[in-house]
């Protein structure tokens, strides 16, 4: 069990406090490819941020790979994010003045890996993404799909336990979205656990399990239709 959520509650404080996540119970096994779907404002991103230790929750328990994630110091949280989690975002979140290799290598900088080794490993990841020839381009010189593949390469470089993707295809056209989803499926086939937040049914259909969330609650499981292989062209 790589992810175990027990009775997670999250309220955004404010003049009118917003109870966003209500008694969330969720288990994700190692090697799963999961989609989290739901209406806008239902709490998908909030849930994913908690999974990614980017945000905290008010009550309940969250175990990531057996480690209880609760009341962590910012240093410990940063370390766990760095070693165990790879992030992919809708808006790519690449650093604009660093080229592709430097962006991919950045997580290793915070592990104290030498520059040579970092860049070597980053090149390997970029080759795997078919982007070796774009290694020295700045994000601004890359297409949306290429940027997202650079971001995926970066998420993989520390060899994390899980990849968390929030609307990874949200800014891409349908063809590119397919490419990215195929990439995720390949990575999953190699054993990577991947959680994708999306409201694109096509993306959901390309995963092995869909967790539906509505108004902060998880909607009970429904069987997955066995049609996803068609999506891989």
């Amino acid at each position: 069990m790589i992810i175990r959520l027990k009775d997670i509650n999250k309220t955004y404080p404010g003049v009118v406090p917003l109870h966003v996540l209500k008694d969330i119970n969720l288990d994700i096994e190692r090697g799963e490819l999961v989609a989290i779907m739901g209406a806008s404002g239902s709490g998908k991103s909030t849930l994913l941020n908690i999974l990614g230790i980017l945000d905290n929750y008010d009550s309940g328990e969250y175990f990531l790979d057996g480690v209880l994630i609760k009341d962590l110091s910012e240093n410990r949280a940063a370390e766990l994010r760095n070693r165990m989690i790879g992030f992919v975002f809708q808006s790519f979140n690449l650093i604009s003045y660093k080229n592709a290799v430097e962006n991919v290598a950045l997580p290793l900088f915070y592990q104290g890996v030498s520059r040579r080794k970092r860049n070597m490993l980053a090149m390997e990841q970029l080759e795997r993404m078919g982007l070796a020839d774009r290694a020295h381009h700045l994000p601004g010189e890359l297409s949306g799909g290429q940027k997202q593949r650079v971001a995926i390469a970066r998420s993989l470089i520390t060899n994390p336990s899980i990849i968390l993707a929030d609307e990874p295809t949200g800014a891409l056209d349908s063809t590119t979205s397919h490419d990215v989803m195929n990439l995720f499926r390949e990575l999953n086939a190699e054993g990577m656990t991947i959680v994708i937040v999306t409201h694109d049914p096509g993306v959901g259909a390309a995963t092995n399990r869909i967790i539906r969330i509505s108004d902060g609650r998880i909607v009970p499981d429904e069987p997955v239709i066995a049609e996803q292989p068609q999506i891989i062209v």
Binding site: E74, N75, R81, N82, R83, N93, Y110
Partner: protein, 408 residues
Amino acid sequence: MENWREIGATLARNKTRTFLTAFGIFWGTAMLAMLWGGAHGLEGTLRRNFSGFSTNLGAIFPGETSVPYKGFNKGMHWSMTQNDVDVIRRITPDLEYSTTICQNYGTINYGTKSTSAQITGYEPDFSKILIPVVYSGRVFNSSDEAGSRKVALIGKNLAEKLFGTEDPIGKFVSAQGVYFMVVGVIGQTSMASIGGRYDDSLLIPSSTFRRAYNWGNQVNFFMYTVSPGLSPSDLKTQIRRAICMNHPISPDDDKAMWFMDISEEFKMIDNLFLGVSLLALFVGAGSLMAGIIGIGNIMWIIVKERTQEIGIRRAIGAKPRDIIVQILSEGVVLTSIAGLAGVCFATLVLAVVDSQTADPVLGSAGFTLTFSQAIGIVLTFLVLGTAAGTLPAIKAMRIKPIEAMRDK
């Protein structure tokens, strides 16, 4: 090494802003350094007007009595004599250096050349009270005075008039018809003088003067310095007592003799210097403040502008310390380089000013900065600038990475 590349990359990222920040720091440190060195030079310029001039100098001149005493009417003139001076020297232990002074104005001849100049008789101590510049030869010694030798020191302007390019040493000049052998050529650095400038005078030993011109034991006035820790005025009572022993002057007659205490004038000048230093300090503190606020402001903008980047870095594993160290290192690198450049620039400017204002005789006015002052300025900017940068950096850590990433 790893960090240096990272710092270099981020500084190179926004070249205009990096340049403007660097220029601000450069200007701040340069201004401060120039102000400091400038104040120092200004003080030096003023002070060198008095170089060679003892600041604990006093003098006493005979005058006219203002009260009748021992059968003498008021308004009596009295003359100072060598005898008075001997008594003063005997009963006043706190004299440091002292000399009697006899003065006359008359014709000086050398060969066919002739000019008028001041002829002054000094005792050898004069060269310790109003220190002369000796261009050639020597100054008087005690055997010149004791033996009433017919030797003379000639002021450099007077020497030029009479000798042109010829060497005056060993030559004889006549003053009011009496011949003296020139043993030294001297001049004066101080703008201030008592009893005429050396440059335009002929100096002979005091005893020689009195004998040559039949003055008996009369002298014009008496000049002295006091031992360290005392002021010339402290000796007034003893000197007055010594003189009253020899002359029918009432001990209460304040107007019968005139005292001069140069240390009073110098206190005013010292206050002026203090004022200049305070002003420099004030303006300096102002420009330092402006510089620090500038750095703090820029750091604030740097952090603000990079909120998203900081969020990304933290999401992928940067610890708060990593981010703060990075931001501060950028500030430190920028401040060190720009600050050192600023101080170097100021040093250059000061060096030019110093060489322009240097006097061939008086030397440099001191438009300079010591190495430790320069380093002090850079370090102050560094420490205060870093402190100013820490605030926004720490504040940036309060924003959650996820919110920071959303920042556009």
